[in-house]
Amino acid sequence: MINKLDKELNYHHNALSLRVARQELLSSNVANADTPNFKAKDVDFANILNERLSSTPSLKKVNINTTSAMHINSAASGTFGDNILYRVPLQPSVDGNTVDMDMERTRFADNAIKYDASITFINNEFRNLTSAMLER
């Protein structure tokens, strides 16, 4: 029973931590709206969440063996690893900056609401569990 609970919460746990990391990425896009040559970044959220939840490791996870401490480790670090993508600008600007403020703000708000939703789901999950345990 307990590992079933864990499985239920695992989904939201993964979704939340990805949402947090994406929120950070989007905030960095907004912060760098005036920085020359800054390229806006984002991730394919559904793809990464699926990859995290699936037990079979993807082909991307194969790493190169290192035989010396001087070698660069091929394993990507961070929440997203090597899944960070660059946004394709609709209206490129002269200074090389690809931040589209309308788009970034919309994504930021969208991500925030979905983070909120995930928390609501988790709370409901707990509420259901408590009412099942109280058996009233």
Partner: protein, 134 residues
């Protein structure tokens, strides 16, 4: 908890934008300063933004890499009675374009507002996170 990193990113953007606003204020107030402690007329200044080193999640803040002097030519005004006029009667005035500076100011203040908004959103998300399981 990387939601706190959003605060760091937003505050780096706010301090960079306020520095830009500071430079705009300096340019605007010295738009007519014909001379200075060095004897030269005031030269416009501009901030240069650059990206900070990205963290593990690929997100990065902003910093002011430096303040550069505007290389555009100085404004020449014909005013023969001015004590600083040259032999042809021209006074060298600062190369500050007031319209450019006003636009710069609006852009900086909007970017600053965006960062404040970002902080407020993140704050409410964090507060919501603390209510999990209650």
């Amino acid at each position: 908890m990387s939601l706190f990193n959003v605060f760091g990113i937003a505050s780096s953007a706010m301090s960079a934008q306020s520095q830009r606003l500071n430079v705009v204020a300096s340019n605007l107030s010295n738009a007519d300063s014909v001379t200075s402690s060095t004897g030269e007329p005031y030269r416009g200044r501009q901030v240069v933004f650059s990206t900070l080193q990205a963290d593990a999640n690929g997100a990065s803040g902003v910093k002011v890499a430096g303040i550069v002097h505007d290389p555009s030519p100085m404004r020449q005004v014909f005013e023969p009675k001015h004590p600083l006029a040259d032999k042809n009667g021209y006074v060298t005035m600062p190369n500050v374009n007031v319209v450019d500076e006003m636009v710069n100011m609006m852009s900086a203040s909007r970017s600053y507002q965006n960062s404040v908004d970002m902080m407020n959103t993140t704050k409410s998300l964090l507060q919501k996170t603390l209510t999990i399981g209650q």
